[in-house]
């Protein structure tokens, strides 16, 4: 249309998918139409108010109290206009819901409060990577309450409803990084439920995915654990610096005794952590609500293991590296083997 309006503008973010141009065409058409109509109404109103303002000696003039012809005119014309708007909106929408048969599929799971994007090879990421210029379908579901995937640059949005699968498709047209928001209110950290969309050249995308799929085994367990902590939603509720949160902080958690809600006490060690990740409701620490979703089936055993290693690294009672170990038992006060940050 107008080149000035073809991309990021005062009104719209940049156009980065196949749906954007058509949506924006209708938007700008409506913008011109409605701006025109607004100024028509406002202009007529202001002109009348000025011209026929009550003043000394002014008497209202007699005009017909109705005119069927006039009223039918301003009934029929708007009717035609809105049917046309409906048609264009519907056409654009049909393209959004009619996907090609050959398509790349990514599973999306929303949870309080983060995203899990699962690729066909089983790799899960907290951000969305998609190949440019290839049709992609997102299959949407939710772990808990309703969420909604919204990518403004793609002009797409669809709810993630627990208990059903919704689908959306698009073809990203331009390499770059774009924001993705949760658009359906889902509780405390709804507004932090944001992710990034990376649109990459198809060959770059493939290389990234192959490497990414194998990442847990390519780095030290503590680092892998930290990455999972931030990527898979733990960081939303569990701080690592002692700050209070929705769940207990991870700092100095490992090795400590914790009072539970039912009055008993538990020592935080490998099996308790594993249990808490897979069945969060089973042993709740006193003073906290059980809002954590289960990670059963969402984390592999190796991933649970590295998270436990990461927890250990945040604790005063962490296992020490070999060069700091004293030679004999009885001297293990733990001084000097504090590890604040493994990196």
């Amino acid at each position: 249309m107008i080149p000035l309006l073809a991309d990021a503008s005062f009104w719209m973010p940049e156009q980065a998918s196949n749906h954007a141009a058509a949506t924006d065409r209708l938007f700008y058409g409506l913008l011109i139409l409605s701006t025109g109509l607004f100024f028509l109404v406002a202009g007529v109103m202001i002109a009348f108010v000025w011209k026929y303002r009550a003043r000394e000696g002014r008497e209202p003039e007699k005009t017909p109290a109705h005119s069927t012809a006039l009223e039918l005119t301003w009934t029929v014309i708007p009717t035609i206009v809105v049917v046309a708007i409906f048609y264009y909106g519907f056409r654009g929408y049909l393209d959004m819901v009619t996907s090609p048969h050959n398509i790349y599929e990514i599973q999306v799971t929303g949870y309080k409060w983060g995203w899990a994007f699962t690729y066909p090879n089983g790799y899960v990421d907290e951000n969305l990577h998609v190949p440019a210029r290839r049709p992609v379908r997102l299959v949407l579901s939710s772990q808990d309450v309703i969420h909604s995937v919204f990518i403004p640059a793609f002009r797409v949005k669809k709810d993630c409803v627990p208990g059903r699968y919704n689908k959306m498709w698009f073809e990203a047209t331009r390499e770059g990084e774009y924001p993705l928001y949760c658009a359906e209110y889902c509780g405390t950290k709804h507004s932090d439920m944001r992710a990034r969309v990376f649109v990459e050249d198809p060959s770059t995308f493939r290389a990234w995915l192959d490497k990414a799929a194998d990442w847990v085994s390519t780095m030290p367990p503590v680092d892998a654990g930290k990455k999972l902590w931030s990527a898979r939603g733990c960081s939303q509720c569990h701080s690592i610096d002692g700050a209070p949160g929705i769940g207990p902080t991870f700092k100095n958690l490992y090795g400590k005794s914790h009072p539970l809600r039912d009055g008993s006490t538990v020592t935080v060690e490998e099996n308790y952590v594993r249990q808490s990740i897979l069945e969060p409701g089973s042993q709740i620490v006193a003073g906290f609500e059980n809002v954590m979703p289960s990670y059963q089936g969402r984390l592999k055993d190796a991933e649970v293991t590295v998270i436990i290693e990461f927890l250990k690294s945040l604790s005063d009672t962490a296992p020490a590296p070999i060069e700091k170990l004293p030679p004999a038992e009885g001297a293990g006060d733990g001084t000097g083997d504090k590890k604040e940050d493994p990196r």
């Binding site: 005062f10 005119s67 519907f90 929408y93 393209d95 669809k158």
Partner: protein
Amino acid sequence: MTTSTDTSARARPGEKASPPSYLEHSKGIRSWLFTIDHKRIGVMYLWAVLGAFLLGGLFALLLRTELMNPGPTLIADETKAWDFYNHMFTLHGAVMVFLFVIPAIPAILGNFILPIMLGAKDVAFPRLNLLSFYLYSLGGLFFVWVLLSGVIEAGLDIDLPGGGGLDTGWTFYTPYSTSSSSGVTAATLGAFILGFSSILTGLNFISSIHMLRPEGMTWFRMPLMLWALYGTSIIQILATPVLAITLLLLVAERTLKVGIFDPALGGDPVLYQHFFWFYSHPAVYIMILPGMGILSEVISIHSRKHIFGYRFIAYSSIAIALLGFLVWGHHMFTSGQSALANAIFSLLTFSVSIPSAIKVFNWLATLYKGAIALSTPMLYALGFILLFTIGGLTGLFLGALSVDIHFHDTYFIVAHFHYVMMGSTLFAFLSGMYHWWPKIFGKMTSPRLGWIGAVLVFVGFNLTFFVQFVAGSQGMPRRYANYPEQFTIYHQISTIGAFVLGLGLFVVLADWLWSLRWGKKAPANPWGGNSLEWHCASPPPLENFAIAPTDAGDPYRFDDWVRDEETGGYVKRQESPA
């Protein structure tokens, strides 16, 4: 023109024997609390609803302040700041919708004006009317409890049974609302009770309009305000029970764990949305229709012109009431409902725009060649036309499927519905309040304060909400406590606007309170209207008319009324037989 001898000779008939007004008729708190006089009930509603509006407005200012900057603003701790914001926007929405916008015009102005417009002593069922007021108060108390318990929980750091505050959004979407630990049960029971208040008021209005019209007042000689209230009442009676059922089901699910909406219990969350919007979309027309009725009165009377296209306006009120039932699905365009359902709801949604457009064009045609007075009611009516036009036109963007997908649940929708609910309904409410204030309290408001208030409210409103269209189209999602840096400027303009708007509304309040104390005594007919309420004294006596009046003729024919310089109002033309 008028001389003193003239006026003494023209002592209004019946002035000597005029009975005390409804305000002075009896004294004491009991004479108010147990009154069945529709006027006193209307005035009690006025103070109660204004109290709710003050509360809702306070929440609005708090949430706008929290949004002044990205990240936490009022509370340092992030989690607490987000929770605070979530509670604020929920309570703002719930209080404004259930306790202010829905009851404002029907319960205050409708109650006061409808029986007088009909020349009746009262509504058809006066006791039911008082019950309706007490149900409103009781429902309101539930919300006060939700709020107080939230404050107590936060302040004392304790857990109250039933939970404190409310953080689900006024829409109570499942399964979030089934799992939230906040006061969902108390709030939904409150809304349930408020629903009955609304139903009883609607019932009363429909019965009154059917049964109490004076001799000679045919349907097409009723003031258009009555048509609008009639349309509103249809919706109140037919749609509100659905909300009541839905909220009861929600409470049953929360407390008895019956699976209806929660998929974990075998329910369907989208079913809740269908039930909820089947009421709540028509409720939007409960909010706007009576406002449109006020506009038809004010535009015509204050430009001293016969309303243009009476029948089209009357029919369009009923058309809006009925079509409003068929469009609820447009709240679910992104929920995953079928493409066919989306297409049908999109088309039906556009159908509602036609009767709305007709009204605007007819109001404009009414102004043509009139003698337009820029009185305070007229300022708000003209403001309504501008803001409703923006609200209506932006509705076209949202009805169009492909564009709505992008705008759904963003600030674009927030701006749109504030233009309709606040820019339009609030402006109509203020217009109507200023229009009938002299009738209700027998005092004139100050034109100067009226102007200042109207300008501040108009500027503040647009400052607050216009930028939200841009924020939304740029992708800013709604109900966000925290937001990316790029949206900061929109939020800051909006927050400043909110305070200007708040200031303007306090000027309005000051004007009203000023007039009660120092306002000039109002004449019976300050604007020269011809509907029956302008035929009785200001303020009216207990039973409105000494003798039940017959129809006063065309309510929009003002020829028989001439300006009387002495009282500042209008009196019947001398040459016409009294």
